[in-house]
């Protein structure tokens, strides 16, 4: 008997010949080739081979190989990591991982409110928990990232006001800046508003000069990319509203246990990043943005993303869920008559489920303690590092949340070189700002969160002292 050489694949149940023959017979063809030729013209079928690496026969070989490659990575657990800048190291509670890896949540997709009820409820609860954190009534299902959410918020403001110009503070993250730049093109013009050189807060005099009845919105972040708390929110909002412009604030939700939510100082739309709420840093791979606004039809109808709402079923005391105003989305309206309400698709839902789990665990006290713990550690780090003579820290004189700028301009060593040397001390230094904030020269953005201990910060102090040859 001729030996069968064809491989059977564990991932492909029908990869053995007998079943394929039987099914092809049912289909009414003699061979797969015959079927394929009936579907795809022969001349468009690729006849060559693919130069792909040899496959692994067993799961064990794959695991061993991939773990070998991954072992080349050095992690933020093996090193003390002071990087933030849009994705921050926080403690991820074990239950967040447990829920994120539940096969049902992990492998579900776009099911109906019936058989996927749990998915709808979990995401409705995420919206509702975020609504409390933000003190705002409407929160979207997660979208790709803060950057995309900021772009949408700005476009929403343009559609709501009918205006085509937006004012954005120039301290936003360089990554988000590029995203927003591309996202406004070609409809909306961005004017960048300078920050104050001393405090890094928005230059309200410049804002005043730039505000006009052409401006759809003023956008700023709290805290800013450079870690500063914007304390002029109320003043900015009043100025903007006076000219009929909306106020959009981008936030890091880990700050909202101790900072006023932007709705309290006049924000009309709030956006931000969900990663800090129980999602790992994953090499930048667990970003999830959101847009929030008030329960006003005019605003809700301009959100292009999905919004889940609660309803009653035919059974007394039973909740069901569904899409609120689904006809807003590009799923329903192929093309809006004047200007598309953007688009929606698969983005980052699972990270929203996790954010809900995180907020449920933390509760009001947890969020407050988180914020307080971060701010105190940051201020300790600032004080400690400021003892290194020649080091200018903080670079900006105002209130910090979890990041701060360290100014190395009085040293000849570049931030890049300092960071290279810090690795020898088991430390991953802050973000080099010289490229994106050239006016700051040789400076770095350091991030401290609840995971950092006094010992970690003292180690940084000692290492920098030695590298810089001072103290």
């Amino acid at each position: 008997m001729e030996e069968r050489k064809r491989k059977v694949y564990p991932y492909i149940p029908n990869s053995y010949e007998d079943v394929q023959e039987e099914m092809l017979k049912e289909i009414g063809v003699k061979s797969f080739k015959e079927l394929l030729d009936k579907i795809i013209p022969r001349e468009l079928q690729y006849q060559g081979s693919l130069n792909l690496p040899k496959s692994f026969h067993s799961e064990y070989e794959l695991k061993r190989f991939v773990e070998g490659v991954l072992s080349k990575n050095k992690t933020c657990e093996e090193y003390i990591c002071f990087l933030g800048g849009g994705i921050w190291p926080h403690y991820v509670p074990a239950i967040c991982d447990e829920i994120a890896s539940r096969g049902e949540f992990l492998t579900a997709y776009a099911g109906e409110p019936y058989e996927d009820h749990g998915r709808w409820q979990a995401l409705f609860e995420y919206e509702s928990l975020m609504a409390e954190l933000l003190d705002m009534d409407v929160v979207s299902i997660p979208i790709y990232s803060w950057g995309h959410a900021a772009g949408t918020s700005l476009r929403m403001s343009s559609r709501i006001t009918g205006r085509k110009e937006v004012l954005v503070v120039d301290t936003i993250s360089p990554e988000r800046r590029k995203i927003v730049d591309n996202y406004m093109e070609p409809y909306i013009k961005i004017r960048w508003i300078k920050h104050d050189a001393e405090s890094s807060q928005m230059d309200v005099d410049e804002l005043k000069r730039e505000l006009s009845d052409k401006v759809a919105a003023v956008y700023f972040e709290n805290p800013s990319y450079l870690g500063l708390i914007e304390t002029q929110g109320k003043e900015i909002s009043e100025m903007a509203h006076e000219k009929g412009a909306l106020v959009i604030v981008g936030i890091d939700p880990s700050s909202l246990g101790i900072l006023e939510p932007p709705s309290h100082y006049g924000a009309d739309i709030v956006c931000g990043e969900l990663q800090p709420l129980g999602n790992h840093i994953n090499f930048g791979g667990s970003l999830a943005g959101f847009v929030a606004t008030r329960d006003d039809e005019k605003f809700v109808k301009e959100i292009p993303y999905r919004i889940f709402g609660i309803a009653h079923t035919t059974m007394p005391e039973e909740y069901g869920f569904g899409d609120v105003a689904f006809e807003r989305t590009s799923f329903m309206v192929r093309e809006a008559p004047s200007e598309a309400k953007e688009f929606v698709g698969t983005a980052s839902a699972l990270w929203g489920v996790v954010a809900g789990v995180y907020l449920s665990l933390m509760g009001p006290k947890g969020m407050q303690e988180l914020g307080e713990g971060i701010v105190k550690r940051v201020n300790y780090a600032i004080k400690k590092l400021s003892q290194i003579s020649g080091l200018k820290v903080p670079r900006f004189h105002s209130f910090h949340f979890k990041e701060f700028v360290v100014d190395f301009n009085s040293f000849t060593l570049s931030v890049e070189e300092i960071n290279r040397r810090l690795l020898d001390y088991g430390i991953i230094g802050g973000i080099d700002l010289s490229k994106h904030f050239p006016e700051l020269g040789n400076s770095a953005l350091y991030c401290v969160t609840e995971i950092h201990t006094k010992e970690d910060i003292d180690k940084l102090y000692n290492a920098l002292s030695e590298i810089l040859g001072v103290n």
Partner: protein
């Protein structure tokens, strides 16, 4: 063959689980935060001095207070009220390529070597991650024929937006200010049109030929002009009729200086069988969360990997991953002179990239072809069975007898004859542990449903699913009210009052709004 048994006694988990806010008990705690050490406390001073009064939160957020086990139980129960690929025969969610996401890949992505690396670490410390991104790029180049891939877009729609941005920037750089129209087809995904609109293009939708279901070639030719900036199109579209005119279409677009972008969301049946480059496309994307097995995660994390021909490489979002031969290391290359900038922060969802890479490494070339082959066989087998056995069902554009890896069917006959709509069937099928989906809008095919039996399902699985459809349609003819009032054994019962979603006075997108509008209450303050 195993036993094919329709689960007539199925009942899904129903926990009647309250909303998380209803579980709150004052002073319960779910988790503690690392305390502030005494030295830090003493040095930093109290919160009042660190945060000015004007911006300090006075009223803590009204989040629930729930102990740890109760939070866990709550979410586990909710998870049990979901049918993912791990639980059901998920072929009824056509266009979504619901396939097995191998568990070994979950083990790999949960490694601390993945979860605890920061995208801004020095390159020397993330060589493993960069190597995997680099290698997956090269694998996708082989499969598609394109010159380079980028992984930044967080889903298929964002990949489409990236492609629209590249087309826009290309013409801007070339000075083609007159090129402001994008051609797509009505049966391509709604985001093909929507994303092009975001970039300011006028979108021309080519309708399908009523007979063949293929894009109407007369309408297509008529739509082409000097204003044509490009074409963004699916092939096959969701009807899964492979377009034999596709090369002609891409040539016509090229003749007027347009760019051809390929929405390859439906690539599962084409792996190793058709290369994008051979059809005349200049750029295209693959959904790593569909075709390449990364799980769908209730709607993400997704990833749309965008590939381009050599001429368009400089337009890609930055950065891309390269290898420095002399230094023997991988690095991030930001030097793309015509770059569109960025569409998302950093370099893409790394866990998704890793899963796709691991999946391809297990299958290899032969295995990828087997994926395509089995998904095509499975699909045509199911189609035959449905047409033969499921009363009231038909296929769209029946003139085309065979399809690639999914089919858009219609229950119009069922609706006409029994008065039971596809929405009714969708609810009723949950009573057997299945899921079924309609189609994107507009519904070109009346009473549509879309079935995509990927390579992950056995003949028995497929037979069981068709048996479900058969049973329900029989019932529809005999006892239509039963189907119309379904479900009975799912998690919840029918939602009848749609004003909860449509009426601004009634809709409740969050719990606080629900309490206010429907119970005249506030969330605990």
């Amino acid at each position: 063959m195993g036993i094919v048994k329709l689960r007539k006694n199925f009942h899904q988990s129903k926990w009647d689980e309250p909303i998380i806010f209803e579980l709150s008990t004052e002073n319960e705690r779910g988790i503690h935060v690392p305390p502030v050490e005494r030295d830090i406390e003493e040095s930093s001073g109290n919160l009042e001095t660190l945060i000015p009064e004007s911006i300090r939160r006075k009223q803590p957020p009204s989040l629930p207070e729930v102990a740890q086990l109760r939070v866990l139980r709550h979410y586990i129960r909710l998870s049990q009220e979901v049918l993912g690929v791990d639980v059901n025969i998920d072929i009824g969610q056509g266009t979504c390529t619901m396939k097995y996401s191998p568990k070994i890949n979950e083990v790999l992505v949960r490694s601390r070597k993945v979860t605890e690396i920061h995208p801004l670490q020095p390159e020397d410390t993330v060589q493993g991650a960069l190597e995997i991104i680099y290698n997956l790029d090269h694998i996708l180049r082989e499969i598609s024929g394109f010159s380079r891939f980028v992984f930044q877009p967080g889903g298929g729609s964002q990949a489409l937006y990236t492609m629209a941005s590249i087309v826009y920037r290309y013409h801007q750089v070339k000075g083609n200010t007159h090129k402001d129209e994008i051609i797509t087809t009505l049966l391509s995904h709604p985001s093909d049109a929507a994303t092009a609109k975001v970039k300011g293009f006028k979108v021309i939708d080519i309708p399908p030929d009523q007979e063949t279901g293929l894009p109407d070639m007369d309408a297509f030719r008529e739509a082409i002009s000097e204003r044509t900036a490009g074409m963004i199109i699916c092939n096959p579209e969701d009807t899964e009729i492979f377009n034999p005119h596709i090369k002609e279409m891409t040539s016509i677009i090229h003749e007027v200086g347009g760019i051809c972008a390929y929405d390859q969301a439906n690539a599962n049946g084409l792996l190793g069988i058709v290369r994008s480059i051979d059809l005349g496309f200049d750029l295209g994307f693959y959904n790593l969360h569909k075709t390449f097995s990364s799980p769908h995660g209730c709607g993400g994390p997704g990833l749309g990997a965008v590939g381009v021909i050599k001429e368009l490489e400089s337009f890609l979002p930055i950065p891309v991953v390269d290898y420095d031969e002399s230094g023997k290391k991988y690095y991030l290359n930001f030097d793309l002179p015509n770059t569109i900038g960025k569409v998302r922060e950093f370099y893409g969802s790394f866990p998704v990239i890793l899963r796709a890479y691991a999946w391809v490494r297990v299958l290899g070339e032969e295995g990828l072809r087997e994926v395509a082959k089995v998904s095509i066989i499975n699909n045509n087998y199911v189609m035959k069975k449905i047409l033969n056995e499921v009363k009231g069902a038909s296929i769209s554009f029946p003139k085309t007898e065979y399809r690639v890896s999914q089919v858009r069917y219609s229950f119009k006959k069922l609706a006409d004859e029994a008065g039971v709509t596809v929405e009714d069937v969708i609810r009723r099928i949950t009573d057997f542990g299945f899921h079924l989906w309609t189609s994107h809008h507009p519904w070109i095919v009346p009473e549509p449903f879309t079935i995509e039996p990927t390579e992950s399902y056995s003949k028995d699985d497929l037979d069981e699913y068709v048996e479900g459809l058969k049973t329900i349609t029989q019932e529809a003819y005999e006892n239509p009210e039963r189907v119309k009032n379904a479900p009975f054994n799912s998690v919840i019962h029918k939602i009848q009052d749609m004003s909860f979603f449509e009426d601004p006075e009634k809709w409740a997108p969050t719990w606080r709004v629900y309490l206010r509008k429907h119970r005249n209450q506030e969330v605990r303050k």
